[in-house]
Symmetry: C2
Amino acid sequence: MSDSPARTAPAEGPRLVAEPHKDGVDAAVAAARRVIDALLHTGDGTGADMEEIAGRLDAVADGLTEGAPALRERLAEMWRGEGVTRHDPVTGPENALAPPLTLRGLEDGSVEGVVTLGLPYQGPPGHVHGGISALLLDHTLGVANHWGGTSGMTAELTLRYLRPTPLFEPLTVTGRQVSVDGRRIRTVGEITAGGTARVTAEGLFIAKQLPRPS
Amino acid sequence: MSDSPARTAPAEGPRLVAEPHKDGVDAAVAAARRVIDALLHTGDGTGADMEEIAGRLDAVADGLTEGAPALRERLAEMWRGEGVTRHDPVTGPENALAPPLTLRGLEDGSVEGVVTLGLPYQGPPGHVHGGISALLLDHTLGVANHWGGTSGMTAELTLRYLRPTPLFEPLTVTGRQVSVDGRRIRTVGEITAGGTARVTAEGLFIAKQLPRPS
């Protein structure tokens, strides 16, 4: 996939990850992402009253925690039903850690998404943390397996970092199931920026799933 | 390292990552982590007024953004000085994505930290996302290189997922520099839970650094 042309527009094709809602918890999570980013942009030393801000955030957390279901109940609820998850740290509209990455299924059997990452995802100066690239690729390979027809759990993942991956620029993340041999699934993927491959991934997955909580 | 005894108490040894402050931006970030977690614990359907919560979080983000320095200025500022970073997504007290993981240097040359992960880090039901394990290990191997005396950038990282890694239980994350051959650094690491190896990592690093922004 390394020689694919630069593509920064979102791919056409069915959306393979949860659609964020404009309201409900998804809206609050979108706002929480803005807070995470703004805290990193601000840091100390601008005169912002961080004690007051900590108090306001703690009040939000306290209110939510008071009304939250028991963990066991919530775990069962979040895994109920079929379809893609709403809460994973890569694509989940309910998870403020997720950029989020939107992945679509292409006719050639691959999956693709475009995402621009900011300060929370920084490793080396101005560039994406190598572990964040691994996180995006591991998840994308998993979604590629789903799109390919046979899902599984990661058994082995090898990442090659070819060039630094920039922050603040559109990144194209792709994945493609290569083979299914019994329960062994092989899947590859890549992150490109400006048409240039930055990180490649090769994964071995085993076709099994952990039981859902009930 | 697979046959090391179960250890869930924090390692003794010098702290290799930034110490969080009780006040300033670190306190606000700690509160933001509570918000991220509480939003995932709550979800939709509990009757929480998410529109009101989104409004309160947006107001925090708006206020911070208004007073934040220009991005270029902030990037230069955050990379000024020596020592470990305060803003990475694994250990950074200024980054709400970071659990955070505290790593210490041991006398045998390895680094070690203990962390318990909650819902934001979930992949399979009740277990840590494979990409999050990759993120923790990539960073830990980087810190192990620092402790070993020769730092670099990740060139290749191989992860082997031996058993599922549980949420809500103490995980011990270790790393150790194995060899330095010219600019090629080899480093290994592991995540254990309950004394059992869950994920292992082997990394090849190249001794170079990206320039700091100025």
